[in-house]
């Protein structure tokens, strides 16, 4: 299983400096990591994207949603590698950090290979953006898995987990979509 999350570093989704924001989202250790880092803004959104990417696997695994970022405990192993714990479950993350965005991919084991992409999204409505992103993913899957593009379709489960169908039968393939500000991304 796989999950991914992108944060546009120049698109202020949230003002993390507002009172009580940090305590709702980050453990004391994570806050210490943020405040001791050279670029607090970047480290904060790096940890956030690690939590989000791991959460996306957790929902696929257990079919249960919750909103409690602090229950996902982050550890940075190196500049781009991380470890996330949700209760007794461990997730591995690899992040790409540029001056514009942080993109994190979470996996269940430390060494897996995947296909992933980050691209500039059009500034458009959520609906249009989501459509463009799904089409980009399907095009990529069609190419790498040699499946006819017109037979591929993404449907969401009742709790909102996207699943891939080919000619109406579900494919046993984990993938993840993400969007923030000027960027979209996917992984499978």
């Amino acid at each position: 299983m796989i999950g991914n999350d992108i944060v546009d570093l120049k698109y202020s989704a949230s003002n993390w400096k507002r009172p009580r924001f940090l305590d709702k989202v980050f453990t004391q250790n994570e806050q210490a990591l943020i405040f001791s880092s050279e670029n607090k803004h970047e480290t904060l959104w790096l940890l956030w994207s690690m939590k989000e990417a791991a959460y996306k696997i957790h929902v696929q695994q257990f079919g249960e949603r919750f909103f409690n970022p602090k229950r996902l405990v982050c550890e940075l192993i190196s500049e781009d590698k991380g470890l996330i714990r949700i209760d007794d479950n461990n997730y591995f993350t690899t992040s790409a950090i540029t001056e514009n965005y942080v993109h994190t991919i979470a996996t269940l084991s430390a060494s897996t290979t995947n296909m992933n992409s980050v691209f500039k999204a059009e500034i458009a409505s959520h609906h249009i953006q989501s459509d463009i992103l799904k089409k980009a993913l399907l095009k990529s899957i069609s190419k790498t898995k040699q499946l006819p593009l017109q037979d591929l379709e993404i449907k969401k489960t009742t709790i909102g987990v996207p699943e891939l169908f080919c000619d109406d039968s579900k494919l046993p393939m984990s993938f993840s979509l993400t969007h923030c500000g000027r960027f979209s991304g996917f992984v499978y």
């Binding site: 949230s14 009580r20 709702k24 989000e52 949603r65 919750f66 909103f67 409690n68 229950r71 609906h127």
Partner: protein, 84 residues
Amino acid sequence: MTNDELIAKLKTIVQPYIQDEEAFKNLNEDTDFINDLKINSANLVDVILDVEDEFDIRIENDDMEKMISVKAAMEIVNEKLAAK
């Protein structure tokens, strides 16, 4: 406060963060903040903080955990107001 008044207040709070106008127009108890209103999860933290400010309550993470729908938010706000 009646349920309608509470929903109206929540509707005002979430408005700046929604990304689906249609779902927002039809907001009701069954509306999901993320799946229906397409609020991004960082902004869901803002929603929680705005709810705390509006009702002068504090929501611990164990309660916040369930706050993914209007119905769950209403339950928690009512609980906290009753405990005041």
